[in-house]
Symmetry: D2
Subunit: 353 residues, 4 copies
């Protein structure tokens, strides 16, 4: 098995998400990280490459140009506002692309990028973390197999507390770009709402048709949304409620998805990510545990393994296999959702997605 020669754009030393991607790539040993334009600041970019002992570039443009033939796959972990431009260029230059979510800063950018991705023969994949958890996949499989009957309603709850204070004013770098609408587009909706809505669609296999969002910047002076409650309608009359918030003080990273059908329900929570709970109509709860982790059942897996599962899928896709890999159509769906919720905020009533 030949390793996939990979370069990373963004993700310099000291940040969080770049290192997670690198660890996830190493886990199953399918990738060989050989080059990087790891920061938009050239000095930091070069220093980060030196530390990682890979070929460094001051700009991503230079990387894309010079690594043709020496790199197969570009991993993009920059702030949202550069996603569209870099991913477009990378695809057009003939690289496979793995892009951190959300797809782009604006819906228009996403629609354009999707056209590029569709025209490319290369893989365009996005790292929606939660779809990498085996029990989220198992939940989807069981729902699609009819284990809970006809779906009626679902509830997604994604709450964090790390933006409970206006830390963007103190120069916290993650907070700074994520709360700057020019860099991020939406706030909580883009950062974690995109995960939440993806969980809704992924687990049920249904599209979201209409949304009605109650959207706030609960921290005074914040320029993007940091809290949103969304009512939504899916295909086939399925209704749902979703909350995404980054100002729920003390919440570390609470994510749960619960789906009720007419024959039972299934629920998954990030707090107990190896477990899946089925509730029968009589209230009996049956909890099954993951048996497909790298270590045997009973040895907890977690975020890094979930992330590695995404990279495993990408590697399989690159090698021509069909997987759960999330691509442009899902990215577009998230962007449309965010756009519709923000429109519903203006109209104070339902928006079509």
């Amino acid at each position: 098995m030949t390793k996939i020669r990979t370069a990373m754009i963004g993700g310099g030393i000291g940040g969080f998400i770049g290192e997670i991607h690198r660890i996830a790539m190493r886990l199953d040993d399918r990738y060989d990280l050989v080059a990087g334009a790891l920061s938009s600041e050239p000095t930091r970019a070069m220093e980060s490459a030196r530390e990682l002992e890979i070929r460094g570039y001051a700009t991503w443009q230079e990387l894309l140009e010079k690594e043709q033939g020496d790199v197969d796959c570009i991993v993009i972990v920059t702030p949202n506002d550069s996603h569209a431009e870099i991913a477009t260029a990378a695809l057009q230059a003939g690289y496979h692309v793995v892009l951190d979510k959300p797809m782009t800063r604006t819906l228009d950018e996403a629609l354009s990028l999707e056209i590029v991705a569709a025209q490319s023969s290369k893989i365009f994949a996005m790292t929606y973390t939660y779809t990498g958890y085996p029990m989220v996949r198992h939940m989807r499989d069981r729902i699609l197999a009819g284990d809970i009957g006809t779906i009626r309603t679902l509830s997604i709850d994604y709450r964090q507390g790390w933006l409970a204070e206006p830390i963007e004013r103190d120069g916290q770098k993650q907070a700074a770009w994520r709360t700057d609408p020019r860099k991020s587009g939406a706030g909580a909706l883009g950062d974690i709402g995109s995960h939440a809505e993806q969980l809704a669609r992924f687990t049920t296999g249904l599209a979201i048709k209409k949304v009605r969002g109650d959207v706030y910047s609960l921290v005074e002076g914040r320029q993007v949304d940091d809290h949103a409650s969304v009512q939504f309608k899916m295909e086939h009359g399925v209704v749902g409620d979703l909350v995404c918030s980054q100002v729920c003080t003390g919440e570390r990273n609470h994510v749960s998805v619960r789906v009720w059908g007419d024959k039972g329900s299934l629920s998954w929570s990030h707090d107990s990510c190896d477990a899946l709970k089925f509730t029968a109509p009589d209230g009996t709860e049956t909890i099954t545990f993951c048996t497909t982790n790298r270590a045997p059942s009973g040895h907890p897996a977690g975020f890094i393994e979930a992330f590695a599962n995404l990279y495993k899928d990408c590697a399989d896709e690159i090698e021509g296999k069909d997987t759960n890999c999330i691509g442009g159509s899902d990215g577009i769906a998230s962007m449309k959702f965010i756009d519709a919720v923000l429109r519903s905020k203006e109209s104070q009533t339902w928006s079509d997605v």
Copy 2:
């Protein structure tokens, strides 16, 4: 300590809620149940009284008339449509009244009853069960004492599954009247939504100003709402989300309330009713346990003790003490909430409460 001489209207043998009220009254031995008009069917009323070895009446009118001077307190556990008439008559006849929630079938009835209650020198109390749980009271006390700082947002989740099938068509008696709009008024909103909104107000001490409800009869052909998701705005810019549903298959009786302030959060769940969880801004969770139950901490209490706490409060009120007893103003608030949610269903946008 003299026992309070009590009569019950509704709650015949075989039903559920009447027996709960009777057990709860016995628990602390402050009440003496001496009479009853236990059913709207005279035969069943008399038989039930015989079984309970109390004085029986075929109609509540007769009871109210004949028991003057021999009974202090009337407990009303009939379907919602008769609440207003019976409670009004009982108060006007000079009895204390304990009334199962919701207050009445319609908001208009509630407003009229409240006037009667206000003019009466007697106690008018309602049994909002969840306010009887000591840790719900403790949650309120801590929030009002500022333990979580300034409140930002809250979430109430109340889900049952017992109406997941159209059992009202099979003659299930509880289901039949609760899904008949002429008897119950609202469906899930009246039956459990009233508990949910009361929890929101009780724990925060804040009024709900605006609501936007996504309201459904998810079981086909049902005549009342059985599922509602409600976004709401409280005083001081506090925002919340609330779901009440009786068609979440398999849910036995899930009730949780979570409140986030800028200094931490508090959450309570019915599943672990003796515990209260505080989460600090750094994510540390501190769980305190009830120390005011009838048995020492570590010996679980539950629904019946919570209900008995309500009756303890009523007895204390009757004896002239100040308690957490829930009266007409809370009943009105619930009715206004339900009314506003149903209006918002029509307008598809916000309604004032």
Copy 3:
């Protein structure tokens, strides 16, 4: 249904266990508490009776003599050292007897009492609380029905922390008699070890044949055991481990019993008393919830309802029905267990029970 006329010995106002028994008796309204010799101190006995508005006696002897024909059943909740004498006298005087565990202070006393009980036509019942929890009974039923196959091993963990400090020296009344070997016999072994070993026998239907106890007074200067770890062998080669401790700082009242067979396991914990967990050989956990409480499933029950279930059984037994009522043979088994553990402490090896 005629109520059972009952008198109580011990359990004066201010104590804990007497009030629990009274509440439990009231819950299902099958008992009428009419008399009491509620304390060994005559003044307190009479005052307590006055407060409870029942016929008071300064001594239990007087009560037994005078209430013949007016009382059916004697409830004994005195310290252990008077159990044998009072229960013997009450049975010989023709009363039904309900006795708080453990049976007596010494094994010899228990053996003599058992002879008296066997010769009496009246009921002799003991209140082993945990056997009153419906899911403990359900666990027994499922094990006896073969749901986990052939039993292999079990583990009982009963830990409290209330004696973590030498509070008996500060005049705490409960602590004082329970740590005085002349009043209590054994310490933790008698008080909670008796519950633990009863759970072992009750859930499996097997007798304990041999024990090896590691027994301590971990609080310096304490005159009775406050911590014991016991290895035990049951019939049919089943082996088990049991810990009972009252010095595990912070433990409120942790009780769990887990039983493994060759086809699965069942476990119950006091912390979640309405639930029973079955684990299949493949690790899948199935949690069933109590459906036989006074309120519907989803409305938590607890200690007081469990205790009331014991009194319900006693009432049924008195009326001639067969129940789960715990009688003298179980009391003897507990006493033999305690005696054997204490003997094994001396020999430092196995003792026969």
Copy 4:
């Protein structure tokens, strides 16, 4: 930072533990796996090396000889009976050694190996997995800092179910060598009892002085112990109970350690490996969560990250830093514990460790 050039002995493709070690080494990118003698069957050894694209050897002797100067560190993941010989040879040949636990098959072998390790200037480290969990380390730190006061008692519960059936007779390879006393030495005691006793010593910083084991082969015909309950005495009068079993049907890999002091208790469970629970004397529970994982708090870590932490420590040690790295003295302590428990089985009373 130069990577540590590493060779592996044992751990051929298809087995479980070799792959875990390889993933753990890759996680932080400090090791470069360059060679291997991956099986005692030469053909499988060479094929496995080919698949891993590393230099392959048919025997470990050949590897040790030929890789001098090209490899810094030998990782040994063979069955227990070859640990002593290989580790001794590797150390004497001047390699660093990382050895899977238990140290050796017999105590005598361990004592000899410890002498070799002590004389070597190279690192001799053992992979006791549970000491790699950050919250186990945090538990140790807090206990040593006095957070629970003077330690009184502790309880270790380690239960698996994978040997609940005699699968060694069906050719299951893991089961075959682990239940063959010539290969493994002890059974459950060696395989998981060693983890359990290490947790007891690691978290408390205390040595175990005496043990009394109730040891069984509960599956008929099994040649090694598969279930053991052990009472033990540590320094300073601390007492404990420990169970290790591989025949608790359905247990996936339950590990918990609870330690009670006179000022509170701390407990950790593998099921919730990122959390640590402190219980105060009044019963209040405070749960803290790991903040030192590779991803932020709220993103679950697990077994593989814990294992990687061990390899991180080994790398740090090799580079001359002081870490939590577990070496020969701990290995010896485990072997002495196992030996003493097996002796106590013969004598049926206490054995000195």
